[in-house]
Amino acid sequence: MTAQDQSEIFNGTAAVGFADSRSTDGTDTRAIPAFVFGEELGVLADDDPRIVVLTADLGRSNRATDFALRHPDRFVNVGIAEKNMVTVAAGMAASGLVPFAATFGSFAALLCAEQIRTDCAYPNLPVRVVGHHSGMSMGFYGTSHHSLEDLAMMRCIADLTVVCATDANHLRALLRLSLDHEGAMYLRLGRGRDPEVYPEVPDLQLGRAELVREGSDLTVVATGSTVHPALVAADQLAADGHSVRVLDMWTVSPLDHAALAAAARETGALLTVEEANVTGGLGSAVAESLSDAGLAVPLRRHGVPDEHVPVGPPAALYAHYRLDGDGIAAVARELLDTRTRRNA
């Protein structure tokens, strides 16, 4: 790709550094989730003329530029105008297109909540709002860029499907699945550095969680970036003699109530893990599900407490909030010990 070719895509503006956006540290980041978003859609768009990708001056961050290289006529950069982006996407969807509108999760969900509800979900239009760099993954960028409320805000919108990408292959599966979905979707993506959980593109079904590890003493219900550390924790707990089930609850709305009920009956305790404020997020959803089903089992909601998080590198923040493998294992041990004492 020559500089001239790129400048055509960018409507005559300079595209300096575009090719370098593949990575910030020289490593090939192609196989990590946020960064396959544009590439995968580009391939899917070869066979699906409905696909359009919009971004709000974050095409390098979310690699929508990979889509732009392949389908420049279906790439729209609206500039730093997120609300306009979501509503423009709704207008496109009302005209038969399937637009993917991508920006940081905090801006997508908090800034555009009303546009998502009123212009996308209510008319039941196939708009896919992609909130990437979710949770604390922007680390030292601070509160404005942390997306800890998006799960709670998006899952209370009727007729909006809310899904979280676990890794690169999982994201590919979500994007493919989305093409056959009639209504609006919120896709929650990480920073694009999530370790692999799925060695192949999984066969996903909306409303059905993925059982990524079998176990009988406790079920860890994780989503998005917390699935991998939950598996790490389960390995550690196995060394202690605990058999831990891990559910990837990527389908937050609709939630997999059957898998949760089975987990409650078969393992007797649940630990939810999310890179989000625990108020209203996955843990709340699971608590509601168990309560509605009349299943009273020990449940611990683990995530970010109801507070604004400090700045810091993401890995440091994960350790601070015990959202890495060691931390999740520690919280799980507390839950298992509590249950053991109660049953003694």
Partner: protein, 271 residues
Amino acid sequence: MPTQRLADRALFVRTETVRLTRIAGAGHYSAVFSCAEILAALYYSELRIDPARPDWADRDRFVMSKGHAAIGLYPVLADLGYFDPELLDDYTRLGSAFGDHPDMKRIPGIDFSSGSLGHGLSIGVGMAWAGRHAGSDHRTWCLLGDGELAEGQIWEAAMAAAHFGLGDLVAVVDNNQLGIDGFVADIMPAEPVEERFAAFGWDTHRVDGHDLDVLRATFAALPGRGGDRPQLIVADTVKGKGVARMELSPDWHVGNLAGADFDDVMTELNR
């Protein structure tokens, strides 16, 4: 269509609005009175539509961005044959398709649901972009209120429309001078509307929004379909137009017209 026939349809918009307001017990009649001629000139003279095919891909689109004026649009759609006019008798009743704001899921002929102000021009950008992408020459019309121009998203959309060269997008501002709390000029002035849109890269036009001949001529004189500059028409109107005590009075933004009020207004409209 002769101008007198369009004037009849504008009167029909006003009288039906008053009738439906009585059914609901409340309604935004004065915001309809200001755009009655605009709706009549568009729907009975300008728009390329086919009520038998509400989903026709190449139809002109109409986005009622000032969604609270839907009560004036419903009778027009019924009159054109999009649905049985008797359905309107359920206006705002439990489960009715017809509420204070238009619902594209339930009403044939409504191209987009609205209600929250400031969104419609972005919808129009998406529709116009999609139309051009599909190779269609349909136009997308957005009816905005002047008070609505205080919403920031309008200007995000205005910027995008010009940058994307959407010449088939036409925004009509129903410049009726009043918001809920008083005069727009006092609350948050929209003027100079033309200069502002022109600075964003739009072609602008200014007309008397109650003069049907002028409206029709302005619509007809727009640059041909497929142009590259979005078109703005500022239609100077009077909120509450047609009923003397309502005209430019902030006291009549929303409410009921029952009993003597109903009779008085109907008599004055039909005079």
